[in-house]
Symmetry: C3
């Protein structure tokens, strides 16, 4: 496997095996692997957007396996990049992303890339041009660190977290993905990856969001088909209360709704009316003693209340830690010996 872009490339069995390995790595402790299986291997990472967990967990994962990360961040010494194929580059962009990907392939053993969408034109965003160009032009393995469409490392960490919280067999286990108000427009990458990963393993997924916040139709269709094949279900509702009622796990996360693409700040006037979508003690009390998940960074007292984040039911740091372990498993699969 030399591309981890949607997160579904390894297939269901491959993903389960990655989580098994991540659980074993976690049990072994987060310290250095004495065998240093990535000794002398280098991963170049293009961070075209901010990060904390992604940068730090990837660097720690590579280092603990004996390798080295070269982090390259937009606005911190990196050339500005052009993403459009065939562009006449007489504007501000200094280098085409395809040339950056091809160049880094000459130095590093893998290329990782994080590239958010503009959240203005959905048709354009969903083509995932930036990470797609890296995937096409890199001649070494490529890892998607979050694009317009997918956040596969987060999805894999979440799969591991569900396994820890609910046990090895996830069929029929009840996950509520709950949209939250967020002061800034966010991509759909996380909910897409969560819904795809949960449905692939047969969970009963309820997706709760206000009118106008539907996920991409193709993603929903794929998740529905996966759920049917795996013995699970996928439902979409605007009634968050009902969605929470039977949930064993609540996954909170905001995203921009398609009607607001290209409409600038209008969304925020609208969103103000949706601030009751915050996850607080009252919301969590409606559930079946559910755990609370969120991919972080979390807007405290906006997306989730301080009290919920401080409660023993909160699993967000466990999720964050699991990023480290699943990425180690993934790096071993993509770059490890044998």
């Amino acid at each position: 496997m030399d591309r981890f872009m949607t997160g579904l490339e390894p297939g269901r069995d491959g993903l389960a095996a990655l989580v098994d390995r991540a659980l074993a790595l976690k049990a072994a402790g987060r310290g250095p692997d004495p065998a240093r299986p990535l000794a002398g291997r280098t991963v170049a990472a293009l961070f075209l957007n901010p990060s904390l967990r992604t940068r730090a967990s990837l660097e720690a994962a590579v280092v603990q396996l004996g390798g080295h990360l070269i982090p390259l961040s937009a606005g911190a010494g990196l050339w500005s990049l052009e993403f459009a194929e065939g562009a006449v580059m007489d504007g501000g962009a200094e280098e085409h992303v395809s040339d950056a990907a091809a160049t880094l392939s000459r130095y590093a053993d893998a290329v990782a890339v994080r590239a958010y969408p503009e959240l203005v034109d959905w048709k354009r965003d969903r083509e995932d041009a930036a990470v797609g160009a890296v995937a096409r032009h890199a001649t070494v393995p490529v890892i998607n660190l979050e694009s317009a469409m997918y956040h596969p490392c987060q999805g894999l960490a979440d799969l591991m977290t569900w396994r820890e919280l609910l046990g090895d067999d996830l069929r029929g286990r009840r996950l509520a993905v709950a949209w939250t108000w967020h002061p800034k427009a966010l991509p759909m990458a996380v909910p897409n990856s969560v819904v795809l990963m949960a449905s692939l393993f047969g969970m009963d997924v309820t997706l709760a969001h206000p009118e106008g916040y539907d996920l991409d139709a193709d993603v929903l269709a794929a998740a529905t088909a996966q759920a049917a094949a795996a013995g699970g279900t996928l439902r979409v509702t605007r009634d968050r209360g009902a969605a929470l009622e039977h949930a064993e796990v609540v996954y909170a996360r905001g995203w921009r709704g398609l009607p607001w693409y290209g409409k600038g700040s209008e969304e925020y006037q609208h969103k103000a009316r949706l601030s009751h979508w915050t996850i607080d003690d009252l919301a969590l009390a409606r559930t079946a003693d559910a755990a609370l998940m969120h991919p972080m960074p979390v807007r405290r007292n906006v997306e989730v209340s301080d009290a919920v984040l401080a409660s023993p039911r909160c699993a967000v740091l466990r999720q964050a830690e699991n990023r480290l372990h699943v990425q180690k498993a993934l790096l071993l699969k993509m770059l490890g010996p044998g």
Copy 2:
């Protein structure tokens, strides 16, 4: 010891032992330690403000001991952070510093943090909210790389430098801390740490500054008590000439005076009248052949003249180098085996 925040946590004997070890490390050469006592250990460092010595000396220290540094810099790919406990995070800050600290504790074996104050509201600044939040929420050792109140790694490097310049017994040795004009408002962290460290070891400290530039009353009281216990003295004067006269070491450094907090650029009109506080040959000629110290970066020909910085009495690069050695001693104490 799992917190190095004020720099006084190790106690007097502990600090002396750290300097002993740093001197031994310096004698052994700055190259790699063949035993690699931090092999596979990772330190995550949050640089919320610029640095050169701090970043480079910390990275070199960690690497020479066989470990790895993950540097995360504000404005260079890091989320913007919220520092207030209980904040409703609907503004520009993406992540709470407590979540950043807790997350990094899941990946790294220690967290270091540099966070300057705003220099607008002293009551608020002196609470050291940013580094305090990291210290409370990290579950691994924490190192303060300069906050509103303390610059303990600098203080420890200075202690080592005094030992090198003056010998092992610092009691009664004469240090003049001389305020200098600086075109930009600076925090009191360095003079606080210098005065606290020198008084703890019984030096005779004279603090010379213009009217309105008093250090924090609690810091002065603590330093006075420490001096008394250790057989030293602490005096404050506006007569720099007299302060220099008997000094064996002159420590130059500017800081913002409390009356100017919240007053924007007014201070600079005032400061212009204070430009004779520059340390030049004439100033140094008044001393007992004193060495010149400064924590750097130094504003040449504003804080200290080119001629003084080029003279053999100038110890600023020695101080800078000693940052490396004391930080290695500190890392060994906090993270090393045994």
Copy 3:
């Protein structure tokens, strides 16, 4: 050799030996050197301008040899630097570059620096104050990663590429350096280093550019003398067609012409008339089946067409890769054992 600033320091035989070693390193594979000849050695790199190849290839080179790079980037947590000797530093610059160089020499085993010129005042630019100050004040080996005048690591990678494309004896081999239109003002460092390196090895160099784009007279005189001594030639022409006709290698690259220094955007109105200097299929068809070189980043469809960059005659990624190998050879020479 402890300075690699113009790139000519090793002398002709020394440069040939560096390329021999780089070719051997390339043949051995880009992976880690099991002997880790730079184990525990640290290189501090000041990136005062953006980079991708330079940063990533230097970090990969150091790491593959077992060492460690500390990258410090302007605008990403580094103090702003003053370059003028004797400056009264009461402005925005926080630290003098000489102090930065001296400080880093206390932590690292070599200092590398990339510093572009302002492209406003040629007399000032050509003094190369920033890298010159680093070279004077560093007490460890210094590598120039591109200055106003020279890009010696690029020149060395190009020499290696000519050896690969044309064979070991470069005397009389035909190189056309072709100016290209570029939407942004660029320094002359690359063409200077290309012309100096090619002439030193006796190539027949034709430099084609529009009126007003002459290289520095001293560089041209030095290159002419070198060419004469080595059995080669250096010609300058405004007739690009004729220059291309016999070329075995075409080296495309734009730079700001001296008449436009200090004239802001006026150059761009002028340049628009020069867009036919783009290298496209038609241009390349005039050559003797020439290879196409360019130091990257390349403005696609402005400097060079997509079609030419996609053709098998395009050697730009080979050049980029060779940066890695020559820098490894250089690091071994400057820092390696023995």
